[in-house]
Structures are given as C-alpha cells and as structure tokens.
C-alpha cells in the first residue's frame, strides 16, 4: 500500500473516533433506576456509551447492581445513589443485587 492509500484507509477511522467522542461529551445523559421495595424500576434501561446510570436506593438496606458476567458491580448504600459510567462496552448486561439475588435488571448499551 502506498502512502496515499494509507491516508485514505485511515481517514474513516479518524472521523468515526471524532464522532464517538463528540457524542460522548455533547449528549451524555444520566439515566435513573429507582430501588424501592426490593425492585429495580424500570427493570430495563437503554443507555449509550458515555451515559451515566444511577441507582437511587429508597430501601432501608444496602443493595448492589452486579453484572451477571461479573465485569462490574455498583455499591448502593441505603438511602444513597450508586453510579456507573457506561464505557466503550456496548451490549446487553443482565444484573442482579448480590445481597438479594431475586432482584434483577438489565442495561442495554448502544454505541
């Protein structure tokens, strides 16, 4: 491949990187899940890379949001809020409360 070809090949990747970055900084949102009476509500949320998901615990005991895959866990003390910043890992994440595993939820992440 000559130099001009290399430049052409690289260009789309650069543009995509800028677009992702612009999305992450300009339109990042905070998505709230409320925990009350041992339920995540809503049970399923949709997020984009760069968004923050926050779990507000209205119960009188502590909970967690723990990815079924084991890749992340958010501590959510009683009466407090736990936060997760969605990084570059798009996909679907089933999660549960480690302390009360009958509590389940899902995060669906798009790029």
């Amino acid at each position: 491949m000559n130099v001009a070809g290399l430049r052409r090949a690289c260009l789309p990747a650069v543009v995509v990187a800028v677009m992702v970055s612009a999305h992450a900084t300009a339109s990042a949102e905070t998505i709230r899940v409320t925990i009350k009476a041992f339920r995540f509500s809503p049970v399923e949320v949709a997020a984009r890379v760069g968004d923050t998901i926050e779990w507000a615990n209205e119960d009188f005991v502590a909970h967690t949001a723990t990815a079924r895959s084991g890749e992340w866990e958010v501590a959510i003390p009683r009466g407090e809020v736990g936060r997760l910043i969605v990084d570059e890992s798009s996909g679907e994440w089933d999660y549960f409360c480690r302390f009360h595993p009958q509590m389940t939820g899902r995060v669906v992440v798009a790029d």
């Binding site: 009476a37 041992f38 009188f60 005991v61 502590a62 009683r78 409360c97 480690r98 302390f99 009360h100 595993p101 009958q102 509590m103």
Partner: protein, 173 residues
C-alpha cells in the same frame, strides 16, 4: 391451619430439633420477639464468621448479614415502640437461642475452609427454616397489619439471603 402447623413444626424441627411448638397460641408480642431473636442469632453467627473467616466472599456475606438484620431489627424496635407494646419472651424464642448457642459453639471449633463451608451451609438451612416459618405461620398468625407488613418485608430480604448464601456456597466449594 394444620398444614401451616406441620410446615412450621418441620421448620422448627430442622432448626432447633424440637417439634412440640404450639404455634397457634402465639400472639403478636411473641411473634415480634421470635422474629427479633431470629435476627440477633444471625448477627451473632455473622460476627463469629467475621472473627474466623479470611474468605472474601464469606466475609462480604457476613457483613451484609450484620447490616441487613440490624436494619430489620431497628425497624422492629421502632414499630413496637410506636405500638407501645413490649416483645414477650416465649418458649420458641428460648429454644431458638439455646439451639443457636450450640450451633455457634460447634462452628467455633472449626477453622479455615471447613468453617467457611459449615457456616454458609448453616446460613442456607437457617434462612430456609426462618423463611418457611415466616411464610407459613408467623405472617398469617400476626394480627397487627404493620407487624404483618414488616414480617413480609423481612421474608423478602431473607429470601435474598438464602439465595446469596447458596451462591456463596457454590463459590467456595
């Protein structure tokens, strides 16, 4: 009612080795005392685990038992204060405490992975028995609605504890 009594007797037998419990005679102040006592027993077991275990999963479980049962018992104390009643000691509470002392002494004689396994296995069985007793006898027998609601919340929390204990047991086997 017979089925409830049999279910409760089975749960109590499993836990405490006695079948002769006259559950139908329990009143609200006794039910509150039994529930509170059951919580304190699990806190004491967890404190023993925190003294003896170095397994991270076991310790996290035990820390949560202390935290959750303390929180539930605080709610129970607040309720009895609000209602102006005094939890009444009774034969079931006393039997619970005696059997728990024996179990704790047995666990105290173990160490390392043997302790971890025995502690968590007992947590599975203990929560199962308490949950059976709550669902089949104590909640139906409670007459005060606020007490019934708190016991139901307790059942929800302790059902989670049973599952959590089962998960920890899988991890340490």
């Amino acid at each position: 009612m017979l089925a409830r009594l049999i279910g409760f007797a089975a749960a109590i037998t499993m836990l405490f080795g006695v079948a002769n419990v006259y559950a139908a005679d329990l009143n609200d102040t006794q039910i509150a005392h039994i529930a509170y006592t059951a919580g304190q027993i699990d806190i004491a077991a967890a404190e023993l685990a925190l003294e003896k275990s170095s397994n991270e999963d076991v310790r996290r479980f035990a820390e949560n038992m202390v935290s959750d049962h303390t929180a539930v018992n605080e709610q129970a104390l607040a309720l009895v204060e609000k209602l102006g009643v005094t939890p009444e000691d009774n034969e079931t509470s006393q039997t619970l405490s005696k059997q728990a002392d024996l179990k704790r002494a047995e666990l105290a004689g173990l160490s390392g992975p043997a302790f971890d396994r025995a502690y968590v296995e007992n947590e599975v069985a203990y929560h199962q028995a308490v949950n059976d007793a709550l669902a089949n006898l104590l909640i139906p027998a409670a007459s005060n609605e606020e007490l019934k609601a708190l016991l139901s919340t307790g059942l929800e929390i302790f059902t989670g504890h049973q599952q959590h204990a089962e998960n920890v047991l899988e991890m340490i086997q």
